[in-house]
């Protein structure tokens, strides 16, 4: 299956682009996606098991199962507001 990935802020700067597509095996989880990102960009994140991910605009944990066509997003620590 194929999932779409979006990178923001610090992560966007580290990978040098806004988006990517990943081809993953069936039954892949968010954790598997994080592994694929780390493989493509070894400097992506010093603490991959802590990386915050949203799927279809909802925060999920790394056990969350992915499905074909999902929009995933890598969310560095947020700092909006004042």
């Amino acid at each position: 299956m194929k999932v779409h990935a979006r990178y923001f802020a610090l992560y966007r700067e580290r990978v040098g682009k806004n988006t990517d597509d990943y081809e993953l095996p069936e039954k892949a989880t968010v954790g598997d996606l994080v592994g694929a990102v780390m493989k493509r960009y070894p400097a992506f994140c010093p603490n991959p098991s802590q990386t915050v991910v949203a799927v279809n605009r909802v925060y999920v944990d790394h056990a969350h199962p992915l499905k074909n066509g999902d929009e995933t997003a890598f969310i560095p620590p947020v700092s909006g507001g004042a």
Binding site: F8, R57, V78, G80
Partner: protein, 138 residues
């Protein structure tokens, strides 16, 4: 309830006017403005980036959550993104409530939830560099 992310300057009046009020009593408003100094550095400007679709959904969810609190009538949240200079306003939260204390509590709580949950990031730019700011949390 007004929920908006915008690149334009934001002011309090339209946010306050957006509140739908049946019972009146109190309107509490919070505005976050860009500080000149942060951790000993003199800030040149801030650059806010958002995951806009998700940020709006999160802001709406926070407003709905706060609106359910006792005495709270309505909640509006507007966040500006892009380049902001010192003194410009990044965030406005307005809460209509029947009594004042609940309004203050609800407004402060909304600001803290926004800082915790909404996918918006700020990069601080000063004369010798730039850095993504990590929120100190609620």
């Amino acid at each position: 309830m007004l929920i908006k992310i915008t690149r334009d300057m934001i002011t309090a009046e339209p946010v306050i006017k957006s509140l739908v009020i049946k019972e009146h009593g109190a309107v509490t408003t919070f505005m976050g403005t860009v500080r000149l100094h942060n951790e000993g550095r003199t800030v040149d400007y801030l650059d806010y980036e958002a995951y806009p679709e998700m940020a709006e959904e999160q802001m709406r969810a926070i407003a709905e959550e706060v609106k359910k609190k006792p005495q709270v009538e309505d909640v509006s949240i507007v966040h500006r993104i892009g380049k902001l200079k010192v003194g410009e306003t990044s965030l406005i939260v307005a809460v209509a409530s029947k009594h004042r204390r609940e309004g203050f509590d609800a407004c402060l709580y909304a600001v803290e939830r926004i800082k915790e949950l909404v996918p918006i990031w700020k990069k601080e730019v000063w004369n010798e560099g730039a850095e993504w700011v990590r929120s100190k949390g609620a």
